[in-house]
Symmetry: C2
Subunit: 160 residues, 2 copies
């Protein structure tokens, strides 16, 4: 089983996540950009995701909301910088409950010999913003998401 | 005369610029968001700026081109995340000659006793991208810009 590597160095306002998938990057790209597929893997298992908006082109907006079992929603939103491609997606992010804490995220997909390496690089304006992101369970949520994403794209690859 | 302080720490993909102005922040905000005012201060003195697009609202696009004396153009573009206000402007950036090197920039204006402190915080995906930005004379261009901006808003404040 592949492992999700998370790097968050002290004093650097950045988080880098790397994981390998046994699937072509085209499937990973679809999992990130198709509104029907995103809820099947994004977020921890105890939350339900609703994609409110997903317009994968330069200047397009995205918004999704994680709901807990009490119906409490946690909404994130932002913009796509550059039109997303199977090589790369660049997005701004803002959590509605932490307005003003904006960060920039890029996801790259590199495919070699049937293995796709996903790298998510997130940069923040301050180390405090980064620590807030990590503290709020983002890292845990990301590890869970990566496992769910792996299950999804593996199934999609088998069915193809 | 106030000084522009530039911080670019080793190993951190970030540049922070701080400068004080003897002008209300409303004038600084106008200087950043009005297409007629931006060319009056932005960029080194040996380049001429053309604002191609400037749509200061959430998801709005901006593009401007610096021309040298030979007519050679250096174009930058990006998006506004959140609608710019006199408190804060957040923009994505990309230089047409370095496609793929995307960075996020925030400018905050804090006014106290007639003095506005401008802080520009720029974060990059890699230290190499940051070093490219600094190497290409951005820091020098920013210092020159800040002096021109000071002259502009001082004159606007006097005329008001």
């Amino acid at each position: 089983m592949t492992e999700t590597r998370v790097t968050a160095e002290p004093g650097v306002p950045q988080v880098v996540i790397v994981r390998e998938f046994r699937a072509p990057r085209e499937l990973l790209f679809r999992a990130y950009t198709e509104p029907d597929l995103v809820p099947r893997w994004l977020g921890p298992a105890n939350l339900t995701l609703t994609v409110n908006q997903l317009d994968p082109r330069h200047g397009g907006r995205w918004r999704w909301t994680h709901y807990d079992t009490n119906g409490r929603g946690y909404a994130f939103h932002g913009l796509y910088h550059g039109t997303p491609t199977p090589e790369r997606i660049v997005q701004t992010y803002e959590f509605d409950r932490q307005p003003g804490v904006v960060y920039l995220n890029t996801i790259t997909f590199e495919e070699r010999d049937g293995i796709t390496t996903l790298t998510q690089n997130t940069v923040f304006f301050t180390v405090e913003d980064r620590d807030l992101y990590v503290r709020d369970g983002m890292e845990r949520g990301i590890r869970a998401s990566m496992e769910q994403l792996d299950a999804l794209v593996t199934r999609m690859a088998e069915e193809a």
